[in-house]
Point group: C2
Chain length 398, copies 2
């Protein structure tokens, strides 16, 4: 494998991305953030995700982040030269991450058998909507459908009967990103197995389905249904088993208050001038408060409504009650903790100038990795990479 | 390290959990599902999460899943014996995963220095609300607060002005689980670095903050704000840049329909008896449809409303239009794809009998791991584990 110039715990790894849209590129962003060298293969027109979201002069702001630390190589996988180059790249890679529809890579002659003929140690992560087998295998995959099938969308709603609006989307492609994170985890697990002392050197396949990635997050939903026939229901801004804990209105946005222990509830009651509440028979225990949720939330909301969010938050924080403004993009961008930890940082983009990026998660204090460069132009590294492949293999090994 | 009897790519690893509630135990569940041996240290009363959610005879259904494949050891970390046992266990472990408040382990004399004195190769993953340093380090952490600070809660809402209800919680502790998944990824990345050929043998620290784990999922939110001052806004059931794509009402629940390409929109228009729609000047392109979202969603909703969800889904699927009922627990439990892939499966629990569990994600077809046992009783393995520690170290090595 090529010697890496990067830092981070995964430096020295080489990952080939045959991906598009969100899930596979998110997985490779995570690996690249921790130091892996990632080569992204794109079709002649580029990954369609480059056209998503806000643009400046045709340059995508999201792409600056989504494509960071990767090299972009344009290849036409329908041509023999394109296929040959993919196999040559696979021969020098530790892992391939792809999110074509199941069967598509095989149709192109780039299935696991062909890739492993080029490199027997290759780990291959395949991300799809429903998995590589089973009756739904061939159905088209969309993140919103996976979130709905995994049980997440049903719960992202107000209490039954609260209104007739549909359950809401989380606002980002959370199913895709969670699947991408699972793929990154699976790839590193397979590489640990391959590369540890006494390891087989063999690369495994990792099969990640968006639907399953979402379902795996659903806590006690399945055991509770299976044993008690209980269908978990949405609970709006609150938590079914904790009160008070919800988002409350202020004059300029929502504030999240979590005061669902007895000491916290007593502090909150004192703060809002209602020291009678903890002895009110409706509110003496968390269980009772959950049953009288509307009443207690109404009282708290009437108090928060008098202030702007910053003032309400100051008062609550001074009283030692866990709270936060419900952060918008602006709040995240200016938050002192995110700034202090490098989790919101300015990054220099050669075309866009200074761009705000999210930092590197998880944080390795002793070897944190780096944002080496922002999302490159389509094919920015095609010449460099193809030249390296054309060199004599003996040279390459050296 | 002790020889493992398990299967899965992480067999042979030994993980010590000093965790409680959701995030750290979710991380160890993922590692144990892939074959790692996990020892969970609990206080004399047990992890409080055992009391959360629905119970049968005092046994938690969620715990059956949340605690699966782990051994439970009760230790009082405030006593010298308890501390000694933790250090002895650390000496035989590859990684520790903890989610105490920052500084708490150090106060107990069980900080990284003490743990690494027992085992220099130890990887230590620390999960907290805001991270191990920075101005908010000492604030109490709650999942709902992290989701709000990371920008997720603000977007989980209807369009501004659609109603006056608060933005909704996702319905599960998604911030905790995403942080747990990042911790599992970070631990395996650190172990790959430690254990590969030529590795240093040194264990690194992995610092995971719930707030940061959420923020890292927010796609182009930060770059778009930083460059254009644009604050991403919630968009209810839909996607701001795709139409039609939303949840629509049926007589017995919501159905998700994603027909936001021209061919899919034409198919949908034909199916609902409105072949005029694709040439209606309001709807000829995706961009125009996004601007006339209420109109197009109203027309589609009037059609879906005539059917139950199963019938609507059959009609849409026959017309090749991506759709799914918005799944409840019951729908997930009976889905043929989840069943076929083992992603919904019955597991034998010694106390609860047959319990429904989510399967193992990601799926390793060649070495899938196993659900070896369900969440054990508090301290079920205390005697066994303490006896193994008391044995002569020479015996242990053998």
């Amino acid at each position: 494998m090529a010697q890496s110039q990067s830092s981070g715990p995964l430096r020295g790894l080489r990952i080939l991305e045959l991906g598009h849209f969100v899930a596979a590129p998110f997985a490779t962003r995570l690996l690249a953030d921790l130091g892996a060298d990632v080569i992204k293969v794109e079709p002649p027109g580029g990954d369609p995700v480059r056209g998503w979201g806000e643009q400046i002069d045709g340059k995508s702001l999201w792409w600056s982040l989504h494509g960071r630390n990767k090299k972009s190589v344009v290849l036409d996988l329908k041509t023999d030269e394109g296929k040959r180059a993919v196999l040559d790249l696979a021969a020098e890679s530790d892992a391939v991450i792809e999110n074509f529809r199941p069967g598509q890579l095989e149709k192109l002659g780039l299935g696991p058998d062909a890739l492993r003929a080029a490199q027997p140690g290759l780990v291959i992560a395949r991300i799809s909507g429903y998995g590589q087998d089973g009756p739904y295998r061939n159905r088209p995959a969309f993140g919103v459908i996976a979130e709905s099938m995994g049980g997440l969308r049903y719960l992202t709603n107000h209490e039954p009967g609260a209104n007739d609006l549909p359950p809401v989307r989380v606002g980002v492609s959370i199913g895709d990103s969670i699947a991408g994170l699972y793929a990154a985890f699976g790839v590193v697990a397979a590489l640990w197995r391959r590369d540890r002392a006494g390891g087989s050197g063999r690369g495994q396949t990792v099969d990640v389905a968006l639907t399953e990635a979402v379902l795996s997050m659903m806590e006690g939903m399945l055991p509770e249904y299976g044993k008690l026939g209980k269908i978990r229901e949405p609970s709006g801004g609150g938590i079914p088993t904790a009160s008070p804990s919800s988002a409350y209105p202020t004059s300029d946005g929502w504030i999240l208050v979590a005061a669902n222990s007895e000491p916290l509830f007593a502090k909150l009651a004192a703060l809002i001038g209602r020291p009678d509440l903890p002895t009110d028979p409706r509110f003496t225990t968390n269980r009772l408060r959950c049953q009288s949720r509307d009443a207690i939330d109404g009282i708290i909301g009437a108090w928060t409504r008098q202030f702007d969010a910053a003032t309400a938050s100051q008062l609550l924080t001074a009283a030692d009650i866990p709270n936060t403004k419900v952060f918008t993009a602006a709040d995240c961008a200016h938050d002192p903790q995110f700034r202090d930890r490098g989790m919101v940082r300015e990054v220099e983009d050669p075309i866009l100038g200074e761009v705000l990026h999210a930092g590197i998660v998880p944080h390795f204090p002793e070897d944190p990795g780096a944002i080496r460069w922002t999302g490159p132009a389509v094919g920015a590294h095609t010449a460099e990479i193809l030249a390296s492949l054309r060199r004599d293999p003996t040279d390459r090994a050296a």
